[in-house]
């Protein structure tokens, strides 16, 4: 998904600020999302992600700054703006007493679809989010994941030009997560622009064209996923020895290059391609058998830790996710 840098802006935020007493939820945020792209807004708990999304979807008013969404001003033209957006908030906003179908049908009607149109759209989205079987049951009988999916479906009814997703996959199992990612990508392929907040690096890597890292109400880094990773440093080389007992010897031999042993493999940073070529040549000359070689870019998690610096320890430990994250990074390593 490559986009020309010149495409018009779907979301523009200038000097946005929102204060709650002493708390600076947003403290002068600038942001620009090009049409047809996915912007990931990454940040720890309390960074201001939800506040930003709620301002952009006209739920709260900023204390300073301005913003337009799909060309409409958040303060001056809220009604036109609302017609152009879809929102899935951080917490489910579906009616517990109504069925999944009735929830979607109601929103369709409120978006001025005909009775027939609203029905068709509701059924289509229930199907897409694997909710057809539960469609007639009251939402209060749904699992957390089903509720989340219904919430996402609800935000897509009007085929919005700009979709705001506030931590859309928090609490979802991996399969459901993938399903959500697919639907988001599908919305983008149909022409929508997406702004999604997340605390998950792999989610941003998976979906976002560009990433904005926020912390304590301020933007602390911005750019394409690739660019941000490069900002942190070069690649990491991992070598699996053909004979495991040789690992220590290999590490000693390349210790001058910063090699360490980890999980039965030799791991070392490489600055550029020449250095990489030289290192592999060196291993060959010394007669070490190599069973596998991989390089990977630093993960967004590394980026996040690097740019949030001292505040990183306040960042949420992402329990479970951390391991899952590591596994996914492993599986994404590129073969050399």
């Amino acid at each position: 998904m490559t986009k020309s840098a010149g495409s018009p802006s779907a979301v523009t935020v200038r000097g946005m600020a929102k204060y709650y007493g002493e708390t600076r939820a947003l403290d002068g945020v600038d942001l620009e999302v090009r049409e047809g792209t996915v912007r990931g807004v990454l940040g720890p708990n309390g960074a201001g992600k939800t506040t930003l999304v709620r301002i952009l979807s006209t739920l709260i008013r900023p204390d300073a700054g301005s913003a337009t969404v799909a060309g409409w001003d958040v303060l001056q033209q809220p009604r036109q703006l609302r017609r152009a957006i879809g929102l899935t908030g951080q917490y489910a906003s579906v009616d517990e007493l109504l069925s999944g179908y009735e929830n979607l049908y109601l929103i369709g009607r409120l978006l001025d679809l005909s009775a027939k149109g609203a029905k068709a759209r509701a059924l289509e989205l229930l199907e897409r989010f694997s909710l057809t079987e539960a469609a007639r049951r009251p939402v209060k009988t749904y699992s957390g994941g089903m509720r989340r999916r219904l919430d996402l479906a609800a935000s897509m009814i009007g085929q919005p030009r700009v979709l705001f997703l506030d931590e859309p996959t928090t609490g979802l199992d991996p399969r459901t997560r993938n399903e959500v990612w697919q639907e988001v990508q599908r919305m983008v392929s149909e022409g929508s622009t997406v702004l999604l907040t997340t605390q998950y690096m792999d989610e941003a890597e998976q979906l976002a064209d560009d990433v904005t890292v926020v912390d304590r109400g301020r933007v602390i880094a911005e750019g394409s996923v690739e660019a941000l990773k490069r900002q942190v440093g070069g690649q990491t080389l991992t070598v699996r020895p053909a004979r495991p007992e040789q690992l220590d010897e290999m590490v000693r031999c390349l210790a001058g290059h910063g090699a360490v042993a980890a999980r039965g493999e030799l791991v070392l940073p490489v600055g550029d391609e020449e250095q990489l070529t030289a290192l592999i040549g060196e291993l060959g000359r010394r007669g070490f058998g190599v069973a596998g070689i991989e390089t990977r870019l630093p993960s967004l998690e590394d980026v996040f830790l690097a740019v949030t610096g001292a505040t990183a320890k306040d960042a949420p430990a992402q329990p479970a996710e951390r391991n899952q994250q590591a596994e996914q990074d492993q599986s994404r390593m590129e073969r050399v």
């Binding site: 979807s57 006209t58 739920l59 709260i60 008013r61 033209q77 009604r79 036109q80 609302r82 017609r83 152009a84 957006i85 929102l87 908030g89 917490y91 489910a92 906003s93 579906v94 009616d95 517990e96 007493l97 109504l98 009735e102 109601l106 929103i107 009607r109 409120l110 978006l111 001025d112 679809l113 289509e124 009251p138 609800a154 009007g158 085929q159 919005p160 030009r161 392929s189 149909e190 022409g191 929508s192």
Partner: protein, 269 residues
């Protein structure tokens, strides 16, 4: 299936056509009624309150206040119309407050619908509930011996006055429901407002034995006017003055509190 984004006509101005407005109110009212269907227990108060109150007051106070149950039914039941109307009205805010806690209201507030449509739909479904409750009250009281000395038209007028005043109070209640933090707070404050209104009135007992300061309060209390006009409409007697008073209160409450509630709805948080 179509892949086009924006099948909806773009709106060029802030206004919503009256037809769309009505359609939104209809869809939201349908939601409210479906919620009642999904949770029939929410109707218990509307159904049981008129029955329990009538039995309690008629048999506990009837003999003491009016000398006989029969006399007291004719006196108290018309006043109960207002008492039930206002009790149900004050419960609306509690429900609205819980609605806001769930995030459903956030969804509505991000949709391009008229600002007042959510609240108006609430008013409509609550009025249906209230009407049902008032009809149960009259029917049950007739079983216990209530006689309509006037005619069906007057009875309908009495119901209409109670509903009109109830509607005014619904706006007060909705404003409270959005202004206060928790459903419990809404319920507590609502109770504090309606208790003095209910008992500091001519609803349950004639005011002639009350001390002067309380009589002064009962004279300006709209529930007295409502009780007096309902009594006149059911038992016969001069109606115009108290009825106009009730109408003035209803219009006044709505004129002041409806815009405030709508503004609060728009601005909440």
């Amino acid at each position: 299936m179509s892949a086009a984004v924006l099948p909806l006509p773009p709106l060029d101005d802030q206004r919503i056509s009256p037809r769309a407005y009505l359609a939104h109110i209809g869809a939201l009212t349908r939601r409210n009624l479906m919620r009642i269907k999904a949770d029939p227990e929410s109707m218990f108060d509307a159904i049981l309150m008129p029955i329990i109150f009538t039995v309690l007051f008629v048999y506990v106070f009837g003999g003491a206040v009016a000398g006989s149950q029969g006399h007291y039914i004719q006196y108290m039941v018309p006043g109960m119309l207002g008492q039930i109307g206002i009790s149900l009205a004050m419960a609306v805010g509690t429900g609205l407050n819980s609605d806001f806690q769930t995030g459903v209201m956030d969804r509505f507030r991000t949709l391009p619908i008229g600002r007042a449509s959510v609240l108006i739909s609430k008013l409509i479904s609550e009025s249906c509930r209230s009407l049902l409750s008032l009809v149960i009250l009259i029917s049950f009281a007739m079983l216990l011996g209530l006689r309509i000395h006037t005619g069906p038209l007057q009875l309908l007028l009495a119901l209409a006055l109670a509903m009109a005043f109830g509607a005014g109070m619904v706006w007060v209640s909705m404003l409270l429901g959005m202004a206060l933090k928790s459903p419990q707070a809404v319920q507590g404050i609502g109770f504090l407002i309606i208790m003095p209104l209910q008992f500091g009135s001519s609803t349950f007992a004639p005011t002639s034995t009350m001390p002067g300061w309380l009589q002064a309060f009962t004279k300006v209390n709209p529930l007295s006017a409502l009780a007096d006009s309902s009594r006149a409409l059911i038992n016969g007697g001069p109606v115009l003055h108290p009825a106009l008073q009730v109408l003035a209160w209803s219009v006044g409450l709505t004129a002041v509190f409806a815009p405030l509630a709508v503004m609060k709805f728009k601005k909440r948080t």
